[in-house]
Symmetry: C2
C-alpha cells in the first residue's frame, strides 16, 4: 500500500530541488489547470475553478458590504475609446488582442479585447453621472481580460486571466483617496482571513504604477522561495480620466465639477500565491476558509459491513453543520486516496475503518502538519470546526513568521546587493525617489521596488544607490 | 404628489400601443442596461446584472446537485479547432469575431472569439478522458460569448451575451440521452419555480436544431404579446464530436469506444422573457424568488420623529428572516419613490409613516396586483414570507393561464394561416416531417416550428401544408 500511496507524490519534484518545476508539477498533479491549444491561455479545471469560485463568493460579499454593485461591461473596446487617455493607451496598446473582422466583413474600426476596462467605465459614467445625487458610483465586474504576454506560466502570467475590476467615481478627491485605501485594506483583510496570506501594504513608485493612475497602492506577499508576488492593487486616478472622458456633475451650488476616480483589482494570479505560500512537497495545502472541499472522508476496508454507512452518516452530519465534505468511495486503495487528498490540499482527512467503528472514533489528519487526532463520533460536529479554525490561524502564523524572517535591512548598496544575491526575501533600503536608481537596482540585481510601505522606517538619511538625500524607505525584491 | 408620482411611469409607452417600444422603455427606465460604443454590445447595469447574478446562483446550485462541476475555458478558439466538426463550423463561422493581431504582430493563425465552446471542451476531453473510470465528465462554464449579429435588441439579441454552457461526456448513448432530457427538465423546473415562467417542452425539427447536434430539445415560453421565446436548449450530440476530436475511452473489457456527448445552455436572453411575461405598463414585475430586492421600505414623512428609526428596525428584522430588503431614505417624494419601486419591479412595497406607527401597522403593497395589506409590526416577519410566496405562485398561475389561453389548434392550412395572422400565440398543427413545409409556413406567415412537444396529440392524419401523411404534431408561432 505504501508503494502505491506514494506513487502520485513521487511524481512531484521537491521544492528544494527545483522550485519552478515543483510549482508546475503541483498545478498539474492537483488538476488545477490544463494547457489549451490557444497560445498562453489555460483551462481552469474543476479543482482550480472551485478555488476561484470561493474567492469570488467571499470577496464579493466583502465588496457588497461597502456598497459596491456589480455590472457587466462589453468584452470589446473600440480603438478610439482606448486612445482617449494618453498614458493609459501607451501602457496597454502593445499587449492587446485586436479583432479586425466580424464574420466575413472587415470592421470599420478595430476592437481590442479588454485588457482592463477603465475606458468603458468612464464612457458609461460620462452618460449616467449628471448631478452630485448620482455620486458616488461604486461599480465592479467579474470577468476575463486579455494581455498578449509572450511567456506564460499557469496562474502567474497568461494571455487571458480572470479577475474583478472595481471602478468608482466620487464627488471629491478626499472621498476617492479614502476609497482607494479602503479597498487596499479590504484586500489585505481578505488575504489574511481567507487565504492565510500576510502582506506588506504600501504605495508603488511612479515607475511601477498603473498606466493612467496618479497613485497605485499594492499588497505584496512573499512566496516560499523568497520571491514577491503583487497580490492586488488599488489605484487613485484623480480627475485625469474624468477630463479625458468629460465626466462632470453639478454640485449643490449648481457648479460643474469633474469626478475623482479609483480602480482596484485582484486576479486568478492569487491562486499562484496560494500554492507558493502554503504548498509542500506532497502538493497543495489549502487554508480551510477557502478550500472548496474542507474534509475528505476516506473509508478504510470499505467492503466491510457498516463502513460506508458510517462514513455517509458522518458526511451528512458534518454537511449539516455547514462544512464542505466529500467521501472518496472509489475503488482505489486507501493509500492512493490519501495521496490524492494530499496533492489536492484538502485541509482535513477523516479516516474511518472497522477498528474505528469498534472504538467509536474517527481519525482526523491535518494536511499542513499531518497531526492526527482521534475524535469520538459524537464529538465530530463540535471538534472539527475547532480543528479547522486552529489550522487556519496556524497557517497564517507560519506564513507571517516566514515573511518576517525574510525581511532584511540594507544600509549600504553593497550590503543590499549581497542580501539580494544570497537571501531570498525582501530587502528594506532608503531611496531618493529617482527612477534612475530603480533602473540601476534592476540592472545590477534583477530586483525591483515592490512598494513604499505605509509603515515607514528611517534606515539612513541618504539613498545608498546614488548618495543623494533619501525620501522614502522602500521594500525591494525579486518578483513574479 | 400624484403628479410627480406618475412622471416616471408616463414616460413608459403603453404595451397595447406599441409593445416593442414598451419593452425598450422598461429596459431603459428600470436601468437594466445602457447602450455602449461597441456595436451590438450592451452594458448590464446594477439592476440588470443583479437579476443575472440571482439566476446564476440558483441555477448553478441546481446543476451542482446533479453532479455538475464548473470550469473555465479560453475565450479564443483557433480557426483550425473550430473547423474540426463540419456542421458546427458551417453554423458558426459566418457570425464570429476574428482576432488577427496580438499587439503589433499578425497572428500565424486567426483566433475566433468563442461563439460557443463545444470545440474547446472536446479538445480537453480528448486529453483527459482515457478510461471508463474517467466518465462521465459533467462540466459547465459561466461566461460571455460573441455572435456577430447584424440587428440587436437588449437581452434578446446582442453581439455579446452572458450564458452558461454545460458540456458532458458519457460512456453510453443511453446515459447521454438521459442527461440531455434531465437538463431540459431542470431548465423547465427552474423557469417555473424561480422565474414563474411556464414552458412547452419538446424537440426541435432538424431545420431548427443546433449546428452539430443529433437532437436539440427546447423549452418555449410565451411572451405577453403572443410571441414565443426559446428559453433554453439541450443538445444530444451522439458520438459525432467524439469522432471528430478522437475522444475515446477503454471500457471494462479494455475495448476502445467513443464517448457520447451533450451540451445545454441558458443565457441573459431569459431576462428578456422575464420582462415580457410579467411586466406591465408601470414597468418591470419581478417574481419574489428571483428579485434581487424583494421588499422596498418607503418611509412616509420621514422627517417626523421615529419614522426612519422604525423603518430601519423593520428592515433589520426582515433581513434577519432571510429576506432581501432595501429602504429608500433618499430626499425624493414618497410618490416618486413608489414609481421607482414599481418601474424596477420590486415585488413588495412596505409603507411606514407616522400614522402607521401610531396604529402599530405597516402597509404592504404587492407589485403585481397592487393589493394592499395592513400588517401589524409584530406579524411582519411571519406574514411577509407568506405574502411573497402567494405572489410567486399567483404570478406563475397567471402566466400559465395566459399560455394555455393562447394555444390554438389548426386542422387545415387555411385555418392555420388565419390563426397565425389574427391570434397571437402558439398554433398546434400536424406536420409531415419535410423541411419544405416548414419553409412554406415561414414564407407564408413568418411563423416557425417552435417544437415537437413531448406531449403529442393527434389532430389529423395528414400534414395540412402538403397533404402527405403526418408524422408529428408541432407547435408553431412567431418568435423572438
Amino acid at each position: 500500500m505504501a508503494d502505491k500511496a506514494n506513487k502520485l507524490v513521487r511524481e512531484i519534484t521537491s521544492m528544494n530541488d527545483d522550485f519552478a518545476q515543483w510549482y508546475t508539477d503541483v498545478v498539474k498533479k492537483a488538476e488545477l489547470i490544463e494547457y489549451s491549444k490557444v497560445r498562453g491561455c489555460m483551462i481552469l479545471r474543476p479543482n482550480g475553478y472551485a478555488i476561484w469560485e470561493n474567492i469570488q463568493k467571499n470577496l464579493d460579499a466583502m465588496f457588497k458590504k461597502t456598497g459596491v454593485e456589480n455590472v457587466y461591461m462589453p468584452l470589446f473596446i473600440p480603438e478610439s475609446l482606448l486612445q482617449k487617455e494618453k498614458d493609459h493607451v501607451e501602457g496597454f496598446a502593445p499587449e492587446v488582442a485586436w479583432v479586425t473582422h466580424g464574420g466575413d466583413e472587415k470592421l470599420e474600426e478595430r476592437l481590442c479585447v479588454r485588457p482592463t476596462s477603465e475606458t468603458l467605465f468612464c464612457d458609461l459614467y460620462s452618460k449616467i453621472v449628471h448631478s452630485h445625487r448620482d455620486l458616488p458610483k461604486l461599480y465592479n465586474q467579474w470577468c476575463s481580460v486579455v494581455r498578449w504576454e509572450k511567456t506564460t506560466r499557469p496562474f502567474l502570467r497568461s494571455a487571458e486571466f480572470l479577475w474583478q475590476e472595481g471602478h468608482t467615481a466620487h464627488a471629491t478627491k478626499e472621498e476617492a483617496i479614502e476609497r482607494t485605501i479602503q479597498m487596499l485594506n479590504l484586500y489585505a483583510d481578505f488575504l489574511e482571513q481567507y487565504l492565510a496570506i500576510p502582506v506588506i501594504k504600501g504605495q508603488k513608485t511612479d515607475k511601477e504604477k498603473f498606466a493612467g493612475a496618479e497613485d497605485t497602492y499594492t499588497v505584496e506577499a512573499l512566496m516560499h522561495d523568497g520571491k514577491a508576488l503583487q497580490s492586488a492593487t488599488s489605484h487613485y486616478f484623480g480627475d485625469g480620466f474624468a477630463k479625458a472622458f468629460e465626466i462632470q456633475y453639478t454640485d449643490k451650488e449648481n457648479k460643474l465639477s469633474y469626478v475623482h476616480q479609483t480602480s482596484w483589482g485582484m486576479s486568478t494570479r492569487i491562486i499562484g500565491a496560494l500554492i507558493m505560500v502554503h504548498g509542500d512537497d506532497s502538493g497543495l495545502v489549502l487554508p480551510p476558509n477557502i478550500a472548496p472541499t474542507q474534509i475528505m472522508i476516506i473509508p478504510v476496508a470499505q467492503h466491510k459491513e457498516g463502513v460506508l454507512e458510517k462514513a455517509d452518516q458522518i458526511k451528512k452530519a458534518l454537511e449539516n453543520s455547514g462544512l464542505s465534505v466529500k467521501c472518496d468511495v472509489s475503488e482505489k486503495s486507501p493509500g492512493w486516496k490519501f495521496s490524492e487528498q494530499e496533492i489536492r490540499g484538502i485541509p482535513l482527512r477523516l479516516e474511518i475503518g472497522p477498528k474505528d467503528i469498534e472504538k467509536g472514533t474517527a481519525t482526523a489528519v491535518r494536511r499542513d502538519t499531518r497531526e492526527k487526532t482521534e475524535i469520538p463520533f459524537d464529538a465530530l460536529e463540535t471538534q472539527i470546526p475547532i480543528l479547522l479554525e486552529k489550522m487556519q490561524s496556524e497557517m497564517l502564523e507560519r506564513a507571517k513568521k516566514h515573511l518576517e524572517s525574510h525581511i532584511y535591512t540594507a544600509a549600504t548598496y553593497d550590503e543590499f546587493k549581497e542580501l539580494i544575491k544570497t537571501k531570498p526575501g525582501f530587502v528594506k533600503m532608503m531611496w531618493c525617489g529617482d527612477e534612475a536608481c530603480e533602473l540601476k537596482v534592476k540592472e545590477d540585481t534583477t530586483a525591483t521596488s515592490r512598494c513604499m510601505p505605509f509603515e515607514q522606517e528611517k534606515i539612513g538619511d541618504v539613498c545608498p544607490i546614488c548618495g543623494r538625500p533619501a525620501k522614502k524607505m522602500v521594500y525591494w525584491g525579486k518578483a513574479y
